[in-house]
Amino acid sequence: MSDTGIGASVKRVEDLRFLTGNGNYTDDINRPGQSHAWLLRSPHAHAKINAIDTSKAEAAEGVLAVLTGADMAADGVGGLPCGWQIHSKDGEPMAEPAHPPLAVDKVRHVGDQVAIVIAETRDAARDAAELIEVDYTVLDAVTDMDTALAGKTLVHDDVPNNRCFDWEIGDKDAVDEAFAKADKVVSIDLSNNRLIPNAMEPRAAISDFDRTTGRYTLYTTTQNPHVIRLLMGAFVLQIPEHKLRVVAPDVGGGFGSKIFHYAEEAILTWAAAKVNRPIKWTAERTESFMTDAHGRDHETHAELALDGDGKFLGLRVATKANLGAYLSTFGSSVPTYLYATLLAGVYTTPAIYAEVQTVFTNTVPVDAYRGAGRPECTYLLERLVTKAARETGLDPAEIRKRNMIQPDQYPYQTPVALQYDCGDVPASFESALKAADYDGFEKRRADAEKNGKLRGIGISTYVEACGIAPSAVAGALGARAGLYESAQVRVHPTGSVTVYTGTHSHGQGHETTFAQLVSESFGIPADQVEVSHGDTDQVQFGMGTYGSRSLAVGGPAILKACNKVIDKAKKIAAHIMEADVSDIEFADGKFTVAGTDKEMAFGEVSLAAYVPHNYPIEEIEPGLDENAFYDPLNFSFPGGAHICEVEVDPDTGDVEVVNFTAVDDVGRVVNPMIVEGQVHGGLAQGVGQAVLEGCVYDDDGQLLTGSYMDYTMPRADDLPSFSVATQSVMGASNPLEVKGVGEVGAIGSPPAVINAILDALAPLGVEDISMPATSHKVWQAIQASSVRQAAE
């Protein structure tokens, strides 16, 4: 085996360019003759557009064009599509109101696009945008879901009660029965706070149109260039694929927010042909806050039925999910199939029923953000289970152990559609308890008390579905696309390799990890392998990167293509070494004839494929370049246990995360260094959600947390160093035996943190706190606590 194969912490090949300032992010790119765009955005959350006067802006110096929604409509430009159709309980398809890229009749959230100004410089475009006069009639805005469902104010005139759909999953009758025979019912109401993703690179795009060929090019900060080409080409602009190239160069983080097809991409591409110049647009951070799709935003009531031994009998869940003003690309799938199908968690709860209503409001569209549905599910379950522990008097670890799926129960069919392929949660749970010294906690609590601090410990376990997804399953559930992945493995004449993958890397290090797969397969050093991604002109097809799918779905595609290369190379080697192909063995980069000392190196065979002088030409073609598509058999199911310890200052409400232990089952680990880094990043986002981050709108729909001065991002001094380990059962649903790691940190951690805070505050009688548990909120809870009240 090559020492740069699977399992090695190979240093990243990406780093050299990023560390020396040679990254190639969208805003770093400039096209000859490039012009610049500025988007005029709505200052109102909800308003009727009566008229737009662009004449002064058009006359301003350096302005090439000012275009509005009316211009797009006149050109027959379509609306932005949603990629997943959900049906309501009654069988009706979800409401899909129009989503024009530039607003036509109404604006529906602060930041909604109203007009684009294209000018010689960005400053000129921005100055001219100030000269556009929009005559608005301001309408009442609706931002909270209950008011929206009352239906007095309609975000879309054709969507009654602002309800997009009312969906259900599970067996309602079985759940009712379970509750009827329960010894104990524990219920909880909680909200999953709305988050703003904040990839550090703001979104950006450059569009270009070549009149001589009729071809469009779009450089854009996306996680899935082929999906953008498909959606924008087919649904919005009617540009056939061969006339549209989408390039996602280096992308500075995504976390879901760069999956979606955004209005600016379509507006810029369309406008490039109108002004006959390349156009560049880069969001300011303020624009990111008010236009990047937000995450989470659920309100949930849930009830758990238990028997006298603390065994879970049934779970009943009712959730309202905020979709924002429009259906974003995957907005409908997040609070349904990515959420409620995981409600079994790691437990054997036999009966589960969930209903989910989704609601339009005058806020930024909500869509997938790191974890997408699974953090919401995990937060609900792990808060509820912890509450059940408290109410039954069982230790939080013990109640979990009593209900966990045991290793011999896999494949485990849940009552909410998914079948978990493999796992061993009790093992990772035990490891986490040990690593966190759970048994020694009371001493640490006592020590903290001596220092005037309240110390608490919180547990969370989780399972998630990754590797999205088997196309047939996804299609049956409403996905409007296949979710396979493609790869091309091109062996060059001298034996070096270029791999083209349909996934996209925006921090995950695919250029390193995928090269390791090829290194392992061909027995050549990873530095002989180059990984190419992100350009629809180079990569045949792909579904991109989200849902921790790149290695679990994209990896096997690469492996398949490698195996095709090896099969063909064996035939070439057999011919040259005058042996039967069945006698050819391939190992450590060498083809050998079994039982002889004949051998050919990988590079010798590749050279023969391109210089086919002595070659089985009647049987096979020259060249060594193979394609593969891989459609997974099932989701993969990473899982694990997270344990958090906090110290609360009772005088200030300040929460310090003092220890965080994560033991995750991510299947086979290709690059341990990168896997740990992925977990760290997810944990920071999860801790951020739990104690710092929260999007706030006022009643008029103004975004109050629209900058880094108002929205609290986790900083280095808010976080501890994490204790991270993997304890894996090899994945059973793909040939690489991988499961996915990108989201685990963000899924498992928020309930661990909140459970720890509630544990710390339990002596004061505080029973509930909502995310983000800011110092202010914790301080208020302490002030209002029953114990304090009683003492006063």
Binding site: L19, G21, G677, G681, Q685
Partner: protein
């Protein structure tokens, strides 16, 4: 348009720019030094950190004209040919970067820390990074990188 001249990475440069041009725009748009990034519009993310006259500075917070005659170092000015600066090497060795967008600012900021405090504690590193946001790494490996880089620089 006024002409603004300064020394950047040891070279004398000059460009005619609008008075409102920020130093970061001057570097990126007029000099093509796109290693310095813009991550916010409120001077909080630190993606734009460079050194001016030997100290770290957010290049989005000053006008290019204010840097007239200054000595500026950007991320492009650190490596010696193919040989990375020890702080860059430490980031590579310790996986201190993922998407790389915050990285130039992190490295430039870290270098200013270690010139002021050659042997910082983990706590001091974390506090120093208050003005640098990273969304990818959870800071764990950035902190590790800076501690390792500091050690390497102490020799």
């Amino acid at each position: 348009m006024p002409t603004v001249s300064m020394t950047v990475n040891g070279k004398t440069v000059s460009a005619d720019v609008e008075p409102r041009t920020l130093l970061v725009q001057y570097l990126r748009e007029h000099l093509g030094l796109t290693g310095t990034h813009v991550g916010c519009d409120t001077s909080q993310c630190g993606a734009c950190v460079v050194h001016m006259n030997g100290e770290s500075l957010k290049s989005c917070t000053i006008l290019a004209a204010q840097a007239e005659g200054a000595d500026v170092t950007t991320i492009e000015g650190l490596a010696n040919g193919d040989e990375l600066h020890p702080m860059q090497e430490a980031f590579r060795e310790n996986h201190g970067l993922q998407c790389g967008f915050c990285t130039p600012g992190m490295v430039m900021s870290a270098l200013d820390l270690v010139q002021k405090n050659p042997d910082p504690s983990e706590r001091e590193v974390r506090e120093w990074l208050e003005g640098n946001l990273c969304r990818c790494t959870g800071y764990h490996n950035i902190v590790k990188s800076i501690l390792a880089g500091a050690e390497a620089l102490r020799g």
